[in-house]
């Protein structure tokens, strides 16, 4: 997505380390964030409101305003419905990571299959397959995703489906170009001459060569997927309330933006940092998987 041209390998490695560190923290936050919140709530509060997303009036019975200030029982305060911002950010992280990782996984499976078949399959399969893949590039991803969501429906499942449909073609194209160059390498030709099957060639000789590039690519693509998910949720046609999502939080913050800008700042900051971190990690990985860059 972004190209850090002219960055030295040292800087890239630094970006990789910081980006990866942030992502690990985010993952932990997504897994344990909602749990901590849950443990903090008293049993009374849970009985009053079993939905842990709703911050309890019990902890703070005096205040009539739903907005708790930061630093209290709710570390970053609460929103207009007394919901803890930290807990919502954590659940938003869960949504973004679940959608992002599922989409990348599906896209990788479909993309690698199509990419390999697009080079090695017989001509009558290969040609239509690659033409179809090219055709998928005819439309902007977000438009296609919105179109699919409008057909399939709203919610997390449709979002994963829609974004997978838009994500696989670029992976297929990448794999196809890599396979096309690798299949004529001497060691592959030699293995073929020795009687290896196409399946053996692909799984043993070709795919292991491109895992590095694929990993780097899907890290950067993951940033795009998370952005697209947030965009759909922001527009109200993605993950639906009351399920928290970063995009939904940013959209919801506009109501009280003037008096409570924190509601806006946190989801924006977490989302932007995540996008940056994924780009740094992807870039660093690409540098690592490219021997020319590594030796420099």
């Amino acid at each position: 997505m972004i190209k850090l041209k002219g960055k030295s390998p040292r800087k890239k490695r630094l970006g990789l380390i910081f980006g990866a560190g942030y992502l690990v923290l985010l993952l932990l936050f997504a897994i344990f964030g909602p749990m901590i919140r849950n443990a903090q709530l008293s049993d009374v509060a849970k009985k009053v409101d079993p939905d842990i997303r709703v911050y309890n009036a019990v902890l703070d019975p005096v205040s009539s305003s739903p907005f708790a200030p930061a630093g209290g029982a709710a570390i970053l305060g609460t929103d207009e419905l007394r919901r803890d911002i930290v807990a919502r950010l954590a659940e938003g992280a869960r949504v973004s990571l679940t959608v992002g990782l599922s989409v990348q996984l599906i896209a990788l499976i479909v993309g690698v299959t199509v990419g390999v078949l697009g080079v090695l399959a017989p001509k009558w399969i290969r040609n239509p397959l690659m033409r179809f893949t090219d055709g998928m590039f005819a439309f902007p991803d977000i438009l296609l995703a919105i179109l699919i969501v409008s057909v399939v429906g709203l919610g997390m499942g449709p979002v994963i489906f829609a974004l997978s449909v838009t994500a696989w073609p670029s992976i297929a194209r990448l794999v196809a170009s890599q396979v096309a160059t690798l299949k004529d390498r001497e060691y592959v030709v030699a293995a073929k001459a020795a009687g290896a099957s196409n399946f053996y060639l692909v799984t043993r000789h070709i795919l292991p060569q491109i895992t590095g590039i694929l990993l780097a690519y899907s890290m950067i693509d993951l940033a795009g997927t998370i952005l697209a998910e947030s965009t759909l949720s922001f527009l109200g046609i993605g993950v639906q309330e009351p399920q928290p999502s970063w995009g939904g939080m940013i959209n919801g913050a506009r109501l009280n933006m003037n008096s409570y800008p924190v509601l806006l700042i946190w989801p924006c900051a977490v989302l932007s940092l995540t996008i940056f971190a994924l780009n740094f990690v992807g870039d660093g990985l690409r540098a690592l998987s490219d021997p020319r860059d590594r030796s420099a």
């Binding site: 997505m1 972004i2 190209k3 850090l4 041209k5 002219g6 090219d134 055709g135 005819a138 439309f139 902007p140 977000i142 438009l143 919105i146 179109l147 699919i148 969501v149 409008s150 057909v151 399939v152 709203l154 952005l227 947030s230 965009t231 922001f234 527009l235 109200g236 046609i237 995009g247 940013i250 959209n251 913050a253 506009r254 933006m257 003037n258 800008p261 806006l264 924006c268 989302l271 932007s272 996008i275 940056f276 780009n279």
Partner: protein, 316 residues
């Protein structure tokens, strides 16, 4: 000859993609519960009334026939009537809103091209010096920050804190219209500005390495003339292509900006219709957006050989 063939292939591919989109939008109506008959008959209608209406509308015919009819009507701009409100004809409703989208997208692309080419040239002239690094750093944000993060931030400062620009479009506007479009256009222009800056820089850096530039320097061409007439003219071609495709993305990607600033445009109409389940409006919006994108890309393919004799000759 070859050029003509390449272009006609592109044209056919574009037509094919549009057919594909039309099929998916047609499916939207098939998959979702209820059809035009249930909506037109109203909530209290009996099953028989709906069935009779369905027969009158021809909805009980097999789907391939209805698909062909859908396409032939769509070509003429007839998408039926909206399910909601005054049940306005969809063509009219969409036509009313498309002007807004075209206005903000064209303003944004003009702004982005001017700033992008200017900053990109500056960055290339001061290659690897502080101004260049500064421009590249800022453009990284421009590429990475999503519209829906930038829009609230700008709105917070310009509309709420400093109160110099209106927050959202509204029916009772007190200032001239363009006043309400400043923030949306700036937000929309951010990403293409960053992309065009980077592209102009890269293309200029490449051009400045060429031998004819060295010759021009040796000949004593003054710097401004050198950079603008000699280098930029040669470097601008990929930038023009990118301006064309960016314009396509702006015209078809104004969902966020229009929704956030409540502008009555194609994007906000689409989102609104999806949320309400207003199928005919969704179909019309999606088809129109897809058509705009394809036609624009075709136009870029057409205009390149006209601008650059090298492309014209290489393909003849």
């Amino acid at each position: 000859m070859q050029l003509a063939r390449a272009l006609s292939t592109r044209f056919l591919l574009g037509l094919l993609s549009l057919l594909f989109i039309s099929f998916v939008t047609f499916l939207a109506d098939e998959i979702q519960p209820g059809d035009a008959a249930t909506v037109l008959a109203g909530e209290k209608a009996s099953a028989e009334t709906i069935e009779r209406l369905r027969e009158n509308l021809g909805l009980n015919r097999p789907w391939p026939i209805r698909y062909v009819e859908f396409v032939s009507k769509a070509v003429r701009g007839d998408f039926g009537t909206s399910y909601y409100g005054v049940k306005e004809p969809v063509g009219q409703l969409v036509g009313r809103n498309v002007t807004m989208t075209i206005t903000i997208a064209s303003s944004a692309i003009l702004l982005a091209s001017a700033i992008g080419i200017f900053l990109g040239t500056l960055a290339a002239v001061w290659q690897n010096k502080p101004p260049d690094q500064g421009i590249l750093f800022i453009s990284t944000f421009g590429v990475t920050l999503p519209n829906f993060v930038l829009a609230p931030i700008l709105a917070y400062f310009f509309a709420l804190q400093w109160d110099v620009l209106p927050l959202t479009w509204s029916v009772d506007r007190v200032a001239p219209d363009y006043y309400y479009l400043i923030l949306p256009v700036v937000v929309l222009a951010m990403r293409p500005t960053a992309l065009l800056t980077r592209l102009t820089r890269a293309s200029m850096v490449e051009t400045l390495r060429q031998e004819f530039i060295r010759t021009a320097i040796a000949k004593g061409v003054p710097p401004f003339r050198l950079y603008v007439k000699h280098a930029l003219r040669n470097a601008i071609l990929p930038v023009i292509t990118a301006i064309g495709t960016s314009f396509g993305f702006l015209l078809t990607g104004s969902f966020v900006v229009e929704t956030y600033f409540l502008l009555p445009g194609l994007g906000s109409t689409t989102i609104d219709a999806i949320r309400k389940g207003d199928v005919p409006v969704v179909q019309a919006c999606v088809m129109l957006t897809g058509a705009i994108f394809i036609v624009l890309n075709l136009f870029v393919d057409l205009i390149l050989p006209i601008l650059d004799p090298r492309i014209r000759e290489s393909q003849v």
